[in-house]
Symmetry: D3
Subunit: 133 residues, 6 copies
């Protein structure tokens, strides 16, 4: 048992555990996106590229755009979209108070049906923060 725990420490158990939601989301997302693009459907390919274009620096800063993507994903209650934009927001330095204000607007506009998604969003946000401790 002691050996088992030592092995876990060596293989970085904590970061593995903490990043479980993130790893699962990212690896599945990447794997399936590749398969989708490999089907060579032109319409879908262009949707992917317009999706990338939409969040690039423009009149509005990238950070604001990612928060716009996040709040839209929350009111439309798309957990995977929420995770994606949370990851981007984290990388762009959105802080805890800011993220909670995005959550709060999503909950006001979209109602209490957004609460279960807010629970999962906060859990994912905490994992994002713990990963890079």
């Amino acid at each position: 048992m002691q050996y088992f725990l030592a092995m876990l420490q060596l293989t970085g158990f904590k970061s593995f555990y903490m990043g479980k939601l993130i790893d699962e989301f990212n690896s599945y997302r990447e794997k399936m996106n590749e398969k989708i693009l490999a089907t060579d459907n032109k319409v879908i390919k262009r949707i992917y590229s317009v999706d990338t274009l939409a969040y690039q620096e423009g009149a509005l800063p990238v950070k604001t755009k990612e928060m716009l993507g996040l709040v839209s994903s929350m009111v439309l209650r798309c957990d995977d979209c929420i995770k994606y934009h949370l990851g981007k927001c984290y990388d762009l330095g959105v802080n805890d108070k800011e993220i909670m204000e995005v959550f709060s607007i999503a909950n006001v506009v979209g109602g209490t049906i957004v609460i279960p998604h807010t629970r999962r969003a906060l859990e994912y946000w905490e994992e994002l923060k713990s990963e890079t401790l």
Copy 2:
């Protein structure tokens, strides 16, 4: 192996198994609600308190209000919200025929996309009933 089964019986395997969906839902819900409220975002706190207020006895009885919350959650297809209101309905004595009539209105108004949620709702309802046998 025999020892293992005996242990399961002693620890109340059946009720543990029957209440799996309920336990998972409640414990995750409570854990994350605490974390959400701990962020001290005033807007979200008030949404939680207005949510509580909305289902209190008024011109309409609590039981009716919980059925209104349930049917709304079904047509908006929010499984966690459905589970929450099913638990409340169960505690308030809504019976099988009544719950099926709530389900039926949700399916008529919201269409066949509500059916998968009705499957999970009935499974949860049955667990609620078996838990207290």
Copy 3:
């Protein structure tokens, strides 16, 4: 001018004006429902009949069922469906406090996007009440 007002009174201006939303909704609804049923599409015909069946007296009273239909229509933000169920609720004796509690649950569950529909719902409700003064 006095003559004009007198003429309005004679032609029942007040009740005409008050019932404008109701008349428009009902006459269009009836005209188009007839045309839809005249197409003789079996699936749609059965949807219409199951719709009628769903709101009939059962384990739950008709009044509760109409409120369930109303709250569902509100969170799904279907103004015509709201008008229909408001009419039924009015006929079944749902009072002002009760209707506002249905509205309140719809606004809590569905969020502030339900507010514009609540405005139109209250306007229609007031017309229903004024019509039979």
Copy 4:
């Protein structure tokens, strides 16, 4: 008065009246699409072009694709989108029985909240047919 009616007949009052919904929809749509594209937002421009691309002949015939666009618009309850695809379906020779079967699937999948949109859809469909009598 007689002169007025004669003038209406000369200017094709009937076809003008019958095509009212179509004319209003098309002229507003074209006017505002021009203004949207004139803002020169690249993302929106590409969405417009991918929208055109999606409905072009491919493995699936154009007619099937327009029916797919129609049924999607119905379950998402977007009246303007419904009108657009109804116009395309009409031009491509979709007949009455086929259009009603598209409507019926939309109503089964999306529920009775689709009915008010079906009323307006049938009204628009009838105008499309009467326009070219």
Copy 5:
């Protein structure tokens, strides 16, 4: 006729005409909000106050919050909510390029069903700008 045009100029025909959508929206909204609040339903009153609270200056600036409210309203396709947040964005100095980037994210996330709402949003935005020329 010349007299008629002169009168129109005196009564400010242009600004009256340009602000038609804005005036209609605002006056109806205010009238019905008053009636809703007059019903004295505590839950709805608190939703109104939490709605106000959510858009106040915080970790995020008011301008960002109004854009979050706007994009949420667009993907949820609530025309009245869109008008409300457009008015706020205009007052806060959001410019044309920024507003189009909010529109573009709404259209990417929410799809082509958002286009009809974008048409009406741009029309309203242009009226907001012309009103104060």
Copy 6:
């Protein structure tokens, strides 16, 4: 270990693994549908039968109707409904290019929030194809 692998081959590990999503979906769906129908709620029973009726051969071929059901399920983002119609489409001989064109219209109409559902849809579609290799 070698014994373990041999056993897996004997018990048809590959097809078992490949069909995991399909088996899970079908067995749960069947089990719960039986329970739902056993409650003997007339409204729900009729919804089930009208659901069957809607996809039967008519003016439109069954294959087109299943694609209409699929695209509706995608824009409404109902994973279980998507799986069901994918299974039907597969049985009816819809090919890869056709299914991707249905996916592409769903993504254009419904926006990038449909992408996560498209990932799961393609995974399920691949499992359907591998099952019968």
